[in-house]
Symmetry: C2
């Protein structure tokens, strides 16, 4: 038995590309749910998505080689959904429902490919934009983020010897497992992986998902990553994102339409989905105004995902609102997903236990926590706050206000107009770490 | 490129034996140094070596399968020194000296094989004895211990899934690296690996040795493991062990010869070796009597290895003695090797710094510290205090008194006689952990 597989060794040392994204299913599930609606209702809308690095101290264009980035983006553009993947999307049960994707949509999806990209450097950062139909450009969000984050990890790891790498991953594994053991104390908790976009790498996300599957068992409800859900027989989880209200708002013609737009999106959504997919994301233009102006039927939706307020304050505000509207919070669902880690998860769980149903979408601090793991170059492994946001829709600027002004995006004049329409109440500035 | 090397996979899953000891060089260097003298001076002496499990709560015969143990011992008996190994022994420089092994000895060694063993179960423990010529049986000590310790690890690991195994080793690596980072603060410290006998496994010892090599650089002076020294270009380290005074004492005909025997051994040793190999192991029959009765030339030896007293007390006692004998401790060497871990190493180092030269032989807590690493079955991975001691020489019982009565071995009547001859002063009972 030869000790070295010579062919493999030669292959490994001469390959041209180690692709980061190898499947179009390597994306978040909500992208597919939104895509079906975007394709169905907003087929002719153009939307531009743009990379935004909120961690301005990290100069991405200095850390990541442009040719490597282009090679990865180009590779992602060669991908198509495979037959196996199409069959699985058509045949799998999502959120308890068979055939959640309609045959017409799947027929279109079969020929989907990622559209072109625009890439250049400015002030040490990458300008990365995706122009075109919304139903094409929206699909870049997750692979673009995953590619940039993993290229950044690779650049940091390149300087390390085999031993430093071994210790780095050993420590990172030990760290995840400490978290697993803390979460194990709460067998009734419900946690899922929301860490695709900010992951250290694909293989590391897979390790983390498998760790949670083995480590917390029933408490682990699934992953937002569709490929990992398929490959590991987990539930694919996720609902909708800010891009829906942002684009629909950008398309409005006046302030009254703008004010009504957050609910118009929900009306469109509920024609497609029901049950646990009826989750409101209330903070696109401020949760306070959203709740104040919401039609009563919004309180009939299954739950809310407060995404830019601290979990306990954000959750309590929604519980109060359900009570005001005569609904029983104990039958409702709160999904937390903003910058969670074990501490915040545990605190929110203990606070809300018995009062409301809860689920935790654990992202960056699950799949990219390498704090103090590397013997050197630790800073270069620290996760950054990188997003890929819709910036224009049919030529109009797209805006997000958020409950946290640090998370606001968009044209300044438009932000001012939106603040006038929706009000500024209860917005609290908080540092955005990830 | 096929993803699975099918031939390797089939081979891996059908093999009969994964040998623990694969080379006769996989032993401690002092064994070879002692062997040359035993073969030269005591060629016709018989000595029996026996396994002694001082951790009686662990029932080895219940944890380790007898057939597996026999298969490993039998495999070790098939080994010969390879040509490459013989050339290296002849050509390498040890302790700054070329040709430390004489051609006659090497000619004999070339045909060496481990002698037969006697194995049976009693009261949940293994009785494992090696009878025959001292120059044959002595060579079983390290492989026998390494085999039993690794079989015990394997038995503990067998119950774990792939994920638990991954986390266990990740944690163990992270743990070693924490120790490395603490030791790095003292670049002048001198540490070597003495962990062959109690290692978790061969591969793990190799990992630990490579970790120290990369992690503390010049502060890592080498390993007692001859195979690892050869393979990783490190110094092979070690001097002599208790079996020398124990056998020589057992061969004496009366109390006066017995009293003189510890020095007779040293006289024989210094005919073979010099320099940093002139290290006194003073505690075989109690350090106090050894120092009191020592001829003056013993104070000319390079150093001492106090092996059964706490480092600081044990070291201070020897420093005082050097001063009494008019020697300058600053020119002398103390080697510490008894149950060390980072705490004790650091404390002793800071205490003796500037007063005496020091070296630390770090054993069990380097190569077998899996405390709190496994998600389950942790107890079964805890290192035990297992030794393989000479018990008879030419039919007479062999005795070790030690400075710690917990480490005494041998026939009770003989222990009483030895205590009468050497005295009991300054012996302190202390728990033996490893």
């Amino acid at each position: 038995m030869p000790k070295t597989d010579i062919a493999r060794r030669v292959y490994n040392h001469t390959w041209k590309l180690d692709p980061i994204v190898r499947s179009l299913l390597d994306t978040d599930f909500y992208k597919l749910l939104m895509l079906q609606m975007i394709w169905g209702v907003y087929r002719d809308v153009d939307a531009t998505f743009s990379l935004i690095n909120r961690t301005t101290s990290v100069k991405l264009a200095e850390e990541i080689d442009e040719q490597e980035l282009r090679a990865q983006l180009d590779h992602a553009r060669t991908l198509r959904f495979s037959k196996k993947e199409m069959i699985w999307l058509a045949g799998n049960t999502f959120y308890g429902r068979k055939q959640i994707f309609e045959p017409d949509f799947l027929n279109w999806l079969e020929n989907f490919r990622l559209p072109e990209y625009e890439l250049y450097k400015r002030d040490g950062q990458y300008e990365l934009h995706f122009h075109g139909r919304w139903h094409d450009t929206t699909m870049w969000e997750i692979p673009a983020l995953a590619i940039i984050n993993e290229l950044r990890s690779r650049a940091a790891l390149r300087a390390m010897g085999p031993f430093a790498l071994d210790v780095t991953y050993a420590r990172a594994k030990a760290k995840v497992w400490e978290k697993v053991e803390r979460l194990r104390k709460h067998p009734e908790i419900r946690i899922s992986d929301f860490g695709t976009r900010r992951r250290h790498s694909f293989l590391w996300q897979r390790w983390c998902v498998e760790a949670l599957k083995e480590g917390i068992g029933q408490a682990f409800t699934g992953t937002s990553n569709v490929l990992l859900a398929m490959d590991t027989d987990l539930e694919a989880l996720g609902t909708n994102a800010h891009e829906l209200p942002m684009v629909v708002a950008a398309l409005t013609k006046n302030d009254d339409e703008l004010r009504a737009s957050p609910y118009k999106v929900l009306e469109a959504w509920q024609k497609y989905y029901g049950g646990n997919l009826l989750i409101v994301l209330p903070d696109a233009f401020g949760t306070a105004s959203f709740l104040r102006d919401a039609p009563d039927w919004v309180a009939d939706w299954t739950g809310f995902r407060p995404d830019s307020a601290p979990p306990i304050e954000g959750g309590e505000r929604i519980i109060d609102w359900w009570r005001e509207r005569g609904r029983d919070p104990a039958e409702k669902l709160l999904i937390f997903s903003d910058g969670l880690d074990v501490d915040t998860i545990e605190r929110a769980y203990l606070h809300f236990r018995g009062k409301v149903r809860m689920a935790f979408g654990w992202g960056t601090n699950l799949t990219n926590d390498f704090e103090d793991c590397a013997p050197d170059h630790n800073d270069a492994l620290r996760a950054i706050s990188l997003v890929c946001k819709v910036t224009r829709a049919n030529g109009r600027p797209a805006v997000k206000l958020s409950d946290n002004p640090e998370k606001a995006t968009g044209d300044k004049t438009e932000i001012a107009r939106y603040l006038k329409v929706f009000g500024e109440e209860a917005r609290v500035r908080q540092p955005v770490l990830v």
